[in-house]
């Protein structure tokens, strides 16, 4: 992104805008509608949900002022306070304080507040006003406030604070013109509002402020805001972010903290309380309530949805509906895609002269990518459901219901949201762990998230179920039953390992969850569909790059070196090829699980991504696509595959063992890369590969050998 080079030290005078593009930051509490407003202003397709923590990384977009001049917008993760308690809140704090080298420090700040809960939302605004930057306050969700019988006196608040205040309904686009007009102003006033820190804390604030100005090169106003933050946060390293504090500031902070500890006074608590007192004074007479509001629609829905008994039934029905629709609605588009991929491969074979290039394109590229593309409809349905649950507000309720169960394994309900997203894909799931405050809980969630059966495992399960069951038509119920068994196994595995890690490696205090449940909203189909399409395009990109690349490399590795005898069969050719040799090398370690060297090739190549297993098997067994149901030719080929002594390779037991292997094994390069980024070390992704693949081998060994001993 081509951002203007204006990362100025906050100590300098704010530069005049001139021709430079002004940068606005959007901040606010979780779920107050920042992302919806960001979308409305920029038109950018960005993920919007109705549960806290949808935006876990900043997003940058562009809009235009009333005069047609560009304005940069940074959408920041929701935060309750600048004293960050979780990694996503730390992103917000660091961008606002100008600590992120990769992001320009915003010139101006758009504070979004939920008009239905003004006092709580004003806490963050109050901290932001301390930063001494021009602020525009957006009172969002005015429609919901009206419905709840709340009347906010906007003009009065504007007079009190001395900054522009815009009443807005971002969902309906109301107030956007006024907001753009305010954003286009060249001269935004600074806030008039001042508050006094408690007298006993004032000397500490003054001393820290002076040290931060002199030794840490902060501007006086930012230094005051940061001094207040340091005094309300006990983890100074986290507060200081990437830039460590000077020894002088650290020394002063320690001296004051020791002194207060000795006195037994909780000054951090009184700082929060005195801020709230200032806000209360500000809010007196600001909001009027019409009569006594009865139970809201959300209250009435919650009476059922979070009920100790009905709540579980609702959650169970939602999950069942989710999985059933993945398997039923997807079938028609899947068959359509499979048929067209096959048509393309046949056309290619007819149009080109026989030779390696033709085989490369038809058997390598088209067959490989096609076998993965087939699963696009299922992935779309999965993301559609996840999007729907997020945007209605149900996701936070699911976390509430699951908290009791999660606490049994030492985690809390907040870990449920990342784990549920991991059913779609572990990558957004791992990103969503940023909302978890406790670093150990977050790490445990990251470590077990890839055990939840993601959509990339679906192709593998479907092919193996088809190979496992006799007859051409796989009964729907059996298919769903086995599939649910695999999902249950992965989920149990995730919970089991979480329990183990919380008791051994990552022992910690009992989980403390505090989670806001947003009011229910009608899902905005546009947002859900946009999010689904974004995911789909990521999947297609992967199919077009990684999977296409691997399919071509794999075709090469199975085709060369050529067998000396030109009349050699396909099986002889593969045995002679590079891939065959690698598979043979691996065979001794996987033979106790019932896998032969050809399955070994699939295990190696699908380390890139699990769904590659299907295309690899397609290439290894030389399957040509046909117009029939997509899994049929591959299933036939798998059934025919035999050991040198003629015994079939893909017995029911081997298919089951192989599915279990894919439940547990860490077979996804993209996940490894994300875990490395999120934990900032190679230690945890390597540990994850070792424990997941190790346990996969162990479980498969037990299952296969027990099955053999029982005569299967």
């Amino acid at each position: 992104m081509n951002l203007p080079p204006h990362i100025v030290s906050p100590g300098k005078k704010r530069p005049a805008h001139g021709d430079r593009t002004p940068v606005y930051a959007l901040v606010g509490n979780p779920n107050c509608g920042k992302s919806t407003l960001f979308n409305a202003l920029t038109g950018l397709k960005q993920k919007v949900g109705n549960y806290p923590g949808v935006t876990v990384e900043k997003r940058i977009g562009e809009t235009y002022s009333q005069h047609g001049k560009p304005i940069k917008l940074i959408d920041l993760p929701g935060a309750y306070s600048l004293a960050a308690r979780s990694p996503d809140e730390a992103v917000t704090r660091d961008v606002l304080l100008g600590r992120r080298a990769d992001t320009p420090q915003p010139d101006r700040i758009l504070c979004i507040v939920d008009a239905t809960n003004l006092e709580r939302n004003l806490y963050l605004v109050h901290q932001i006003l301390d930063l001494g930057r021009p602020v525009i306050l957006v009172l969002n969700m005015m429609d919901l406030a009206k419905k709840a019988g709340l009347h906010v006196r906007v003009t009065r608040l504007e007079q009190e604070l001395g900054i522009p205040i815009i009443a807005c309904e971002a969902v309906n686009g109301r107030g956007l013109v006024e907001l753009k007009l305010a954003m286009s102003r060249a001269d935004l006033p600074l806030a008039r509002h001042r508050w006094d820190v408690p007298v006993a804390v004032a000397p500490a604030v003054a001393e820290l402020q002076a040290s931060l100005t002199d030794s840490d090169a902060r501007s006086p106003l930012v230094a005051r805001a940061e001094a207040l933050l340091l005094l309300t946060d006990f983890d100074t390293v986290r507060v200081a972010g990437s830039t460590p504090l000077s020894w002088r500031t650290t020394g002063i902070l320690e001296t004051w903290q020791k002194r207060w500890d000795g006195e037994g006074t909780d000054w951090a608590g009184s700082l929060v309380n005195s801020r709230y007192e200032a806000i209360n004074r500000l809010c007196t007479g600001l909001v009027q309530q019409d009569g006594t509001a009865g139970p809201s629609t959300s209250d009435r829905i919650d009476a059922v949805v979070v009920h100790p008994l009905w709540g579980w039934l609702v959650l169970g029905s939602v999950m069942t509906a989710l999985f059933l629709s993945i398997f039923t609605f997807a079938e028609i588009p899947m068959n359509w895609i499979a048929a067209h991929v096959a048509l393309l491969a046949t056309w290619m074979k007819g149009a080109m002269a026989p030779g390696d290039l033709r085989d490369l394109l038809a058997d390598g590229a088209i067959a490989g990518v096609g076998s993965v593309l087939v699963f696009l409809p299922q992935i779309l349905i999965l993301f559609f459901f996840v999007g729907l649950l997020e945007s209605t507000g149900y996701m936070a309720r699911a976390a509430f219901i699951m908290d009791r169960l999660m606490s049994r394994v030492g985690l809390n309900g907040k870990s449920f949201i990342p784990l549920l997203s991991s059913y779609a894909c572990a990558i957004p799931g791992i990103m969503a762990t940023r909302t978890i405050e406790d670093p150990k809980d977050r790490l445990v969630t990251i470590l077990v998230a890839p055990l939840m059966s993601c959509s990339a495992r679906l192709p593998v399960y479907l092919v193996l179920i088809a190979a496992l069951l006799p007859g051409d038509a796989v009964p729907m119920l059996t298919e769903v039953g086995i599939m649910l068994l695999m999902y249950a196994l992965g989920t149990l595995g995730a919970f089991g390992f979480a329990w183990l890690f919380k008791r051994t490696l990552l022992k910690g205090a009992p989980p403390m969850m505090i989670l806001e449940l947003p009011p229910y909203r009608l899902p905005r189909l546009r947002d859900v569909v946009l999010q689904m399409l974004e995911r789909a395009s990521l999947f297609l990109k992967r199919a077009g790059t990684i999977i296409l690349g691997i399919s071509i490399v794999l075709w090469f590795l199975t085709t060369y070196p050529k067998h000396p005898d030109p009349a050699a069969t396909a099986t002889q050719q593969i045995a002679h090829s590079f891939a065959g040799r690698a598979g043979h090398l691996l065979e001794p370690t996987i033979k106790p699980l019932g896998f032969d060297w050809r399955i070994g090739i699939g295990l190696i190549t699908s380390f890139a991504a699990r769904e590659v297993f299907v295309s690899s098997m397609g290439v290894v067994f030389g399957v040509e696509e046909s117009n029939e149901k997509n899994t049929t030719p591959l299933r036939e080929a798998l059934r025919k595959a035999a050991w040198p002594d003629g015994a079939p390779v893909f017995t029911a037991l081997v298919c089951l063992t192989l599915m279990i292997y894919y439940v547990f094994a860490m077979q996804c390069m993209s996940t490894v890369a994300v875990v490395k980024r999120e934990t900032n070390t190679w230690r945890w992704p390597l540990f994850q590969i070792a424990y997941m693949t190790g346990s996969a081998w162990l479980v498969c060994f037990v299952v296969y050998q027990t099955g053999r001993a029982l005569g299967y």
Binding site: D233, F234, G269, Y276, D302, A399, F400, I514
Partner: protein
């Protein structure tokens, strides 16, 4: 550890439908700070909506879910039903 006044009880023990005033926060300092910052600090009025292990509460028009251990650390004074 300061002793707890006898009329205070943990939030998790508050019956569903009852309203109480938050009087004391115990335990981890980071947790206490966050609870205060979310408007759940001393003197806040809280109504229990649901839950025995995980509590669901209404504070200042917001619904907040608290795990059992979190609710154990929030000591409240129950208000008579007539005061609601």
């Amino acid at each position: 550890m300061p002793t707890t006044a006898p009329h205070l009880s943990p939030l998790c023990e508050l019956p569903v439908g009852a309203t109480a005033r938050v009087c004391e926060l115990k335990g981890d300092e980071n947790f206490c700070q966050r609870v205060r910052e979310m408007g759940f600090g001393e003197a806040a009025l809280v109504t229990k909506v649901s839950g025995s292990t995980t509590s669901l509460c209404q504070v200042n028009g917001t619904r907040i879910a608290l795990s059992h251990d979190a609710a154990m650390n929030i000591l409240v004074e129950r208000l008579p039903d007539s005061a609601r």
